[in-house]
């Protein structure tokens, strides 16, 4: 673990592989992390010297990403996915059991340096949870038995490669397919059609199709491509956002598993439309297992002249795609933070304007879209704008992949034309006693029973695809608390309101959960919400209070039932505050307690 003798040899090879390019820093750090399970201080110093980047800045980058460690973190690093859907499937008990089995506390490394166990944000396996990552590899469908087997494999130091393959099996769980999932487009088909049109007409076709971004914000894709096409720059870029981090979302995982060719086809189409020569697919670290299959597909496309120089014989149409790995930072799903991360920096959202279409990757014009957007764009060009527009609703054309999870017998991927109602999806997935649905993840909307006739689409309920179902046995306060913890963990820390506000929100929710809240705390929540909404730097902060606002609106009693009193006096666990001193002094007399009647 501690031998660093051959470190320079490793790092020299690494640096050479990445052309000593500082923009590849995060990729180099990921590979260094992968080598020993952590990044030694000497490695940072060495990289700093060779790349001529200040060491402190490299430390800053490495410490930003959850999956990179600057201290030894165990030969086996176990991370339980901590989305509310994992919890509903019993992940917390499984984690406790595993900690007991391996004699360690969550977040700490075992004394022999063998293993650490902790939680991580949603790993995108909500339809087959509870899930975990072991040394970055996704494991699904955890049961007591499986967790125990994993514990034994770790104790016996069995290499990950020798673990049962079934542990790592990921189902696609496609329950309902449509335009995208049923497509039979052969690789190259769309590109040939696009080359016949020419870049300018591709832009027109995408504009005409009415396609809007599938990442949730819904910006018209054609307008984005047009702006990028018209932008001044020496080297344009196409970036695919495959950092699918919104808890409850896993449709991009399925697209990248089954329709990667269509994704790359869409990216190449975009390159033709905007005049880009380089493309990146930014893949979330949780989907690391997809890297090799995706690389193989890229290579096949190169071999078939669908990437590289003079694509499909079109002189001067040069474009290639590289895959960059994320390393555990939800904020990198925000487009400008993603670009910062692509450049090898901390994933902090940029100030806008300027926007990525004019000043994106390395300050060059960049067209950045979601995985599903590229697929839809390819299909829109293939089938023609008019046909595409006929699907969905006037302002939300085409179809949408929905990731269904939570309390229903048939979780998985459902493709619908836009305009489908919440109720219809609930019927299809077999959820009979749903009391609420979290649409579009924690940053989205909590839809209560009375609103189940609302429709998915930019006219009513915009969504990036998450659809988490809660039945009437669920405590919506605990759901909101899980989401609040998520945002506090994922805040990048750049701006005051989000850095401090999300943490304060977390403290307050925890205080209410512990039974020490009063109406004073509800007031504080409302105050924090206002500050977060009006002054946060980016969408993370502005939407981080949504789970609380929405559940307070529809499920206020779930909060009030936990309050110590409904008056405005603050309160906390005063007798608990004496516990430490009681233990230290061995006292248990009357004076060593704060009696309830005092409170």
């Amino acid at each position: 673990m501690t031998t660093t003798d051959d470190l320079p040899v490793f790092l020299d090879a690494l640096l050479a592989r990445h052309g000593n390019n500082p923009a590849e820093l995060l990729q180099m750090l990921c590979e260094t992390q992968h080598r020993r399970g952590w990044i030694a201080p000497q490695a940072l110093t060495y990289l700093a010297q060779r790349l001529d980047i200040p060491r402190a800045r490299i430390e800053g980058v490495a410490s930003f990403y959850s999956f990179l460690h600057l201290q030894p973190h165990g030969e086996y690093r176990v991370l339980f996915s901590d989305n509310i859907t994992d919890r509903m499937l019993g992940s917390q008990v499984l984690m406790e059991k595993m900690c007991q089995q391996l004699w360690l506390q969550p977040g700490k490394v075992s004394e022999d340096g063998l293993v650490s166990i902790n939680t991580t944000s949603c790993t995108g396996m909500c339809d087959q949870g509870p899930a975990m990552l072991v040394n970055g590899r996704a494991i699904t469908r955890l049961t007591h038995q499986r967790v125990q087997e994993i514990g034994s494999l770790i104790r016996n130091r069995t290499p990950l490669e020798d673990w049962p393959a079934d542990f790592f099996h990921v189902d696609d769980n496609i329950r309902r397919s449509g335009l995208i999932l049923d497509n039979t487009v052969a690789p190259g088909d769309v590109l040939r059609a696009a080359l016949a049109l020419g870049g300018k007409d591709v832009v027109e076709a995408v504009k005409d199709s009415g396609l809007r971004g599938r990442g949730g914000a819904g910006f018209p894709t054609g307008l984005k491509w047009e702006a990028c096409r018209n932008a001044q720059g020496t080297a344009k870029h196409v970036v695919c956002n495959a950092d699918e981090g919104e808890p409850g979302t896993f449709k991009d995982r399925v697209l990248l598993t089954r329709h990667a060719d269509l994704v790359f086809e869409g990216m190449t189409l975009c390159a033709l439309a905007v005049g880009a020569q380089r493309g990146f697919l930014y893949l979330r670290g949780e989907y690391r297992y997809l890297l090799e299959p995706l690389q193989a597909i890229l290579q096949r496309r190169r071999d078939n002249n669908m990437l590289g120089k003079n694509i499909l014989g079109q002189t001067g149409f040069d474009f290639d795609i590289a895959i960059h790995m994320g390393a555990g930072a939800y904020i990198c799903g925000e487009e400008s933070a993603l670009i910062e991360s692509l450049e090898g920096k901390r994933g902090v959202p940029r100030n806008r304007p300027p926007f990525p279409v004019t000043h994106g990757y390395l300050q060059q014009p960049t067209a950045l879209d979601n995985v599903e957007t590229f697929c839809s764009a390819a299909l829109a060009v293939q089938m023609g704008a008019e046909k595409f527009r006929a699907i969905g609703t006037p302002k939300s054309t085409g179809s949408k992949l929905i990731s269904v999870s939570g309390d229903c017998p048939r979780p998985g991927i459902y493709e619908y034309p836009f305009g489908v109602s919440v109720r219809e999806i609930l019927q299809d997935c077999g959820a009979i006693d749903a009391c609420a649905v979290q649409v579009s993840g924690p940053s989205g909307i909590c839809v209560a029973q009375s609103e189940f006739d609302r429709k998915l689409g930019f006219e009513d309920l915009p969504t990036a695809g998450a659809f988490m179902v809660f039945d009437d046995s669920r405590d919506l306060f605990e759901v909101a608390r899980n989401f609040v913890h998520f945002f506090a963990h994922e805040s990048c820390g750049f701006c005051t309101p989000c850095r401090v506000g999300t943490s304060m929100l977390k403290q307050t929710m925890d205080k209410i959960a512990a039974g020490h809240g009063t109406r004073h705390d509800l007031n504080e929540i409302e105050n924090l919400d206002k500050v977060l909404q009006t002054s946060s730097h980016c969408g993370l902060g502005r939407t981080s209070c949504n789970p609380v606002l929405h559940t307070l609106k529809h499920f206020r009693p779930a909060y009030e039932n936990r309050l110590k009193s409904l008056d405005f006096e603050p309160a906390f666990d005063l007798d608990g505050a004496l516990a430490r001193a009681r233990q230290m002094t061995g006292r248990d007399d009357v004076g060593a307690h704060l009696k309830p009647e005092d409170v």
Partner: protein, 179 residues
């Protein structure tokens, strides 16, 4: 004014510096006494607080006794004022808050040479320390805050006369101080 306002004051985990500053309003005290009378306070030596209009508390909350006194004040006083850094932020006593109470007590009574003869005092007469020192507003509702370490006599005078006159107190530049 038909009836004098009744005021109580006390110092919890504080140094009495804020009380010194109250005395520092000097001869204006006489004018103040035209308007108010003192209930429980180091000035009167009354031990328990009766019904009051205004309670002024110096110092933060570091032990069980502080909590009892604070509750007594909150129950008895219509308006509760936190005065000084310790009452408002925890202040100097709260400088131990980033340390674990166990390591504090161990270092003071067990590992360092001293008079306690190697044991942590456990006499029931002593109020037990809380694991952290808290500003007053974390324990009860506080209506007003007069910052400063201590606030000047002028600041206290301005604040109280505003309050007694029925105005929302404002200190303004020169009187509002945190140091």
């Amino acid at each position: 004014m038909s009836k004098k306002l009744r005021i109580a004051t006390t110092s919890l985990a504080g140094c009495f510096g804020c009380h010194m500053s109250i005395l520092d309003i000097d001869e204006r005290l006489l004018a103040l006494l035209e308007l108010v009378e003192f209930d429980r306070s180091p000035i009167t030596d009354i031990k328990h607080c009766g019904p009051c209009d205004i309670g002024i508390i110096e110092g933060g909350i570091c032990n069980a006794d502080n909590v009892h006194v604070l509750y007594e004040f909150r129950k008895s006083c219509k308006i509760l004022i936190a005065i000084g850094s310790c009452a408002i932020t925890g202040g100097l006593p709260a400088q131990r808050n980033h340390l674990d109470l166990e390591s504090c007590l161990t270092e003071v009574y067990l590992t360092e040479p001293g008079l306690a003869h190697g044991h942590i005092p456990n006499d029931p007469e002593l109020p037990l320390p809380l694991d952290k020192v808290h500003p007053l507003h974390e324990v009860v509702k506080i209506d007003y805050f007069i910052p400063g370490c201590p606030p000047s006599g002028d600041a206290i005078w301005k604040f109280l006369t505003d309050l007694i006159a029925g105005k929302t107190p404002e200190l303004g530049h020169g009187l509002i101080k945190y140091d």
